[in-house]
């Protein structure tokens, strides 16, 4: 479990807190979506949940973030990687550049952890299967599409067997095919029991897979709960996140006096279809 305890953080040269007084728990195995406008604190949330704050970014932190009851700030940064994985926006920059095939690339993290070769073999094979990359295992990661490269990053993390995997806008640079591939791979990792914290804008995908959504605005949690409820909230628009067009048309129809006033607004296609018929 990850727990934020009255956690605040300010970047070294910043005038204001990027996160202020966050208190929340993310239980083991949960798929938690973090949404908010750009600048609302999504990336900072990801860095705090993975220990990059305070180990990589200096700045000023108050309160604590704990993993299974132990403050991340007190953990040794090098060994944290074995417990919390993180995947970033740009797939290309996550390739180590020091290995020649996808299989070896996944091995890179395991070598750093000192995993024995036999064990490595098992873990890599499983990771390749979960993210559906078995076919390209012997190719150079540089030759792959963005979606495939991002799945290499996912597999590299998964093979390290972290309890928690944090993803900071993992599909924002990808085309629709890549986005679909990556969301499916993330869902598979979630199925396998990994706790997922995913910051992003793609509500339609998040609504399909996430168990919970946290809405951030100016470094504060302004809503926390069921994704379908949160994503349909009027507040989403007010804080610059925007809703799916399914929600927008349903809300407009309601405003125009059509349809049941008290029905929950839809977020996904299936819900919208039910709503309008």
């Amino acid at each position: 479990m990850i727990e934020f305890r009255d956690f605040s953080y300010r970047y070294p040269t910043a005038a204001a807190d990027s996160l202020s007084s966050l208190s929340l728990q993310i239980p083991r195995g949960q798929f938690c979506a973090v949404v908010g406008a750009n600048g609302a604190g999504k990336s900072t949330f990801c860095f705090a949940a993975s220990g990059f704050i305070p180990h990589f970014f200096r700045g000023e932190a108050h309160g604590s973030v704990e993993l299974a009851g132990k403050p991340l700030a007190e953990a040794e940064f090098g060994s944290l990687a074995a417990e919390v994985g993180i995947v970033f926006q740009n797939p290309f920059n996550q390739i180590s550049g020091a290995r020649f095939t996808v299989r070896e690339e996944i091995a890179f993290g395991l070598e750093n952890l000192g995993v024995e070769r036999g064990e490595m073999q098992t873990r890599i094979q499983l990771a390749l299967e979960v993210v559906d990359l078995v076919d390209v295992a012997e190719r150079s990661p540089f030759e792959l599409s963005g979606g495939q490269q991002q799945r290499v990053a996912l597999a590299s993390m998964f093979a390290m067997r972290p309890q928690v995997l944090v993803l900071d806008e993992p599909t924002s640079q990808l085309d629709p095919r890549g986005t679909r591939e990556v969301f499916r791979a993330i869902a598979a990792l979630s199925e396998a029991g990994t706790t997922i914290i995913l910051a992003g804008h793609k509500l339609e995908w998040l609504a399909e897979f996430a168990d919970r959504a946290i809405l951030l605005d100016q470094g504060r949690v302004i809503a926390d709960g069921d994704p379908d409820t949160i994503f349909a909230m009027e507040t989403m628009g007010e804080v610059g996140v925007g809703r799916t067009q399914f929600t927008d048309v349903a809300a407009a129809a309601q405003r125009a006096g059509m349809l049941k006033d008290h029905a929950a607004l839809p977020v996904t296609l299936a819900q919208a279809e039910a709503f309008f018929s």
Partner: protein
């Protein structure tokens, strides 16, 4: 000023055929979205329009200019380009100078440059940050600086490569309204984007590409309803198109207001 692309093929030095006999005519004032997955040839195609790449076969005309006879710098007067990643072009220490770079290359008068830069910065909402260092701003603001730099060229044709990537709802809204304004001024806009919901509401015409060929070309509502073609191009139809289809709303409606109106009139109709 029309764009006329006639039987253009393009082969990279590596031997890869990126464009295979592509023909496309774009009239002045059109807003056209070019969609398809990465590697489909979209960027290769738009780069033919300002001579960044020159066709292996075929010919491109922009207005009465044969692009083959002009340099990219010359083409900049007619075709203004926004690249996907702002960090591939920002170099100045002041936002203002960054936006002024293009107009200065056009050898405009100082007052004219000043006007254009202020107008462009105002349009993207960054006038109050004109004195900042671009790299002191967020990535999303840097993206808007690059857009302002493109606007300041005031070219009749704009090519925008993924203008909404990584942007949130508010910024997408801003970009959409800028596009509307440009369209009202009869500028030609070529939008290269994976953001189909955005394309659906801003473009009147859509061209679908796959493997260096054009699979479909026509009015937005019509092209985005072609499920098989979108499937072949590995793109996913915009949300309102999928909802229109699910509710058998015909013709489909891709803007929220249109959708609600159409739905209301259908409900009012006795069945």
């Amino acid at each position: 000023m029309n764009i006329d692309i006639r039987s253009v093929s393009f082969r990279y030095p590596s031997g890869q055929l990126a464009l295979d006999n592509v023909s496309l005519s774009i009239s002045k004032g059109e807003t056209l979205a070019l969609i398809g997955e990465n590697g489909a040839g979209k960027t290769t195609l738009v780069k033919q329009m300002n001579a960044l790449l020159r066709p292996t076969n075929g010919r491109v005309d922009v207005g009465e200019w044969d692009v083959a006879e002009h340099s990219t710098a010359q083409m900049a007067r007619r075709v203004s380009f926004l690249f996907q990643n702002p960090d591939d072009q920002l170099f100045a220490r002041r936002v203002w100078d960054e936006v002024a770079f293009g107009p200065r290359n056009l050898s405009l008068s100082e007052p004219e440059i000043e006007q254009r830069v202020n107008r462009a910065l105002d349009r993207v909402g960054l006038l109050d940050k004109a004195e900042s260092h671009p790299y002191d701003l967020q990535y999303t603001d840097r993206k808007l600086i690059a857009l302002a730099a493109t606007l300041a060229m005031e070219a009749p044709i704009l090519v925008l490569d993924e203008p909404t990537i990584g942007q949130d709802a508010r910024q997408r809204e801003r970009v959409a309204s800028i596009l509307q304004e440009l369209a009202a001024q009869h500028r030609t806009i070529l939008l290269v984007s994976h953001d189909l919901d955005f394309c659906a509401r801003t473009a009147e015409r859509v061209v679908v590409m796959a493997e260096g060929r054009i699979l479909a070309d026509g009015p937005t509502e019509q092209v985005l309803a072609e499920n098989e073609i979108l499937d072949q191009a590995a793109v996913i139809a915009p949300q309102l198109m999928r909802l229109s289809q699910a509710l058998k709303l015909s013709p489909p409606k891709l803007r929220v207001d249109d959708f609600v109106d159409a739905y209301a009139s259908r409900k009012a109709r006795p069945t």
